[in-house]
């Protein structure tokens, strides 16, 4: 997929690349081409977030985790050759695939944030599950589409996190 894109992928090529028989591919993925592509995309997404977790897992608090997470994820995304190529040339193929695995990604980020929220001073009325759900969705939205935020700039990421993301969720120490 990295070399030839999603559209041109065939089971024969996958088998040749992996050094196995075509029948082996179908035994592992009975759904054929469609299932192979789905599994490969899911695998790439899981790898992306595993790497991201290694980048930022040692962040001391939620605000730092999100700030570093946005900057690191954006950098990883922009330098992700296979994804950038797919978005350029076959967005109609890759975007629905990513949309399919998105619920699992949201679940994963939400679980991580829920455990982080347990160690924070929450603002009155905040329900941890709801806050984690909203933050996970916004975090993922910002990674894919930063809009007018320049996430190469740690100061911008800091303003974004302490404002739009966390102002309603946790009691933050005054800046400075």
């Amino acid at each position: 997929m990295e070399r030839d894109g999603l559209g041109a992928l065939t089971v024969e090529e996958v088998a040749r690349e992996a050094g196995v028989a075509r029948a082996t591919v179908y035994r592992t993925f009975p759904g054929g081409r469609d299932e192979v592509v789905g599994a490969a995309v899911a695998h790439a997404v899981a790898g992306f977030f595993a790497d991201l977790r290694r980048d930022i897992g040692d962040a001391p608090d939620l605000a730092t985790l999100l700030e570093r997470g946005l900057v690191a994820a954006r950098r990883r995304l922009e330098s992700h050759a296979a994804l950038q190529r797919a978005l350029q040339e076959e967005a109609g193929q890759i975007v629905p695939r990513l949309a399919t695995v998105m619920p699992l990604v949201i679940d994963g980020v939400r679980a991580e944030l829920t455990s982080r929220l347990a160690r924070e001073r929450l603002r009155p009325g905040v329900v941890p599950d709801q806050a984690a759900d909203l933050l996970a969705r916004l975090f993922l939205s910002l990674i894919g589409s930063p809009g007018s935020w320049d996430l190469d700039d740690p100061d911008a990421a800091r303003r974004l996190v302490r404002g739009q993301l966390l102002a309603g969720v946790v009691e933050l120490d005054p800046p400075g």
Binding site: L87, A91, G92, Q93, V95, P96, L98, A99, M102, P103, I106, R123, G125, V126, V127, D129, Q130, A131, D133, L134, R137, L138, S141, L142, G144, S145, G147, S148, W149, D155, R159, R162, G163, Q164, L165, A167, G168, V169, P175
Partner: protein
């Protein structure tokens, strides 16, 4: 440059929305013109758009032909080409213009009636989630032709949706927020609406106004009025517009 003819306008939006081929290179579309385009459309165009929407709902975009749309509207093929020159691709963009314009038009009056930021956000978010929930054509297209629809709502293409959100929300948000906070606020609200429209959750249910109000009051109003939203140099300003000295 905003006063281009309807056809040119549609071409600009076509390029911007990258419907079909020939995408990308057009000048920046004045998104606010979508509403004007919708309001200025003649009856014949409106009938065609409604017919096209019904066809898309039934058969999807790919399988709908100009003949189908003509038959559905009860006019000849020649009439379709006279009213909307350019065939099906052009019709798809005209339909998109009309739907965005309709959204603007119906939401605008409701939003103008809101007297607090909280009420404004509840009305806007709830209204848009209800539109998404009840929009049969959109739901059908997302299900059956995700490859044509979903790319418009992801990655850099979301910038167009942000432009639309900014245009829709700016006059209303400006009543409660300083000008420099409006764009980031509109983007945040667009993210919230899109995520809960595409992936609904029981805790944000547009059919339960109280749930939307809890989301707005607890999380979104503080997020939009927090001093750190703006540049650090502005961080000492008050968030109460009544006391805003600038």
């Amino acid at each position: 440059m905003h006063s281009v003819s309807g056809v040119t306008q549609a071409t600009v939006i076509h390029d911007r929305l990258e419907v079909g081929e020939g995408a990308g290179a057009g000048p920046v579309a004045p998104v606010g013109a979508w509403a004007a385009e919708y309001l200025a459309a003649g009856d014949a165009e409106r009938r065609l758009v409604e017919a096209a929407l019904r066809c898309f709902a039934r058969w999807g975009i790919r399988k709908t032909s100009v003949d189908d749309i003509a038959r559905e509207a009860g006019v000849s093929r020649a009439t379709v080409y006279r009213v909307v020159p350019g065939g099906k691709d052009r019709l798809v963009q005209v339909v998109l213009c009309h739907e965005a314009g309709r959204l603007f038009h119906t939401m605008d009056a409701e939003l103008s009636a809101a007297e607090t930021l909280e009420d404004l956000l509840v009305t806007g978010i709830r209204g848009l989630l209800l539109v998404a929930d009840g929009h049969d054509v959109l739901r059908t297209l997302i299900r059956d032709e995700p490859e044509l629809v979903l790319p418009h709502f992801a990655f850099h293409q979301l910038d167009r949706i942000f432009d639309l959100a900014d245009t829709l929300a700016r006059p209303h948000l400006s009543r409660f927020l300083p000008p420099e906070d409006v764009r980031p606020a509109a983007e945040l609200l667009a993210r919230v609406v899109l995520t809960y429209a595409f992936r609904p959750t029981p805790w944000v249910d547009p059919h339960d106004p109280d749930s939307v109000r809890r989301l707005v009051r607890t999380y979104l109003v503080p997020a939009l009025t927090s001093p750190s939203v703006s540049e650090p140099s502005l961080s000492d300003r008050t968030t109460d517009p009544a006391q805003e000295s600038t």
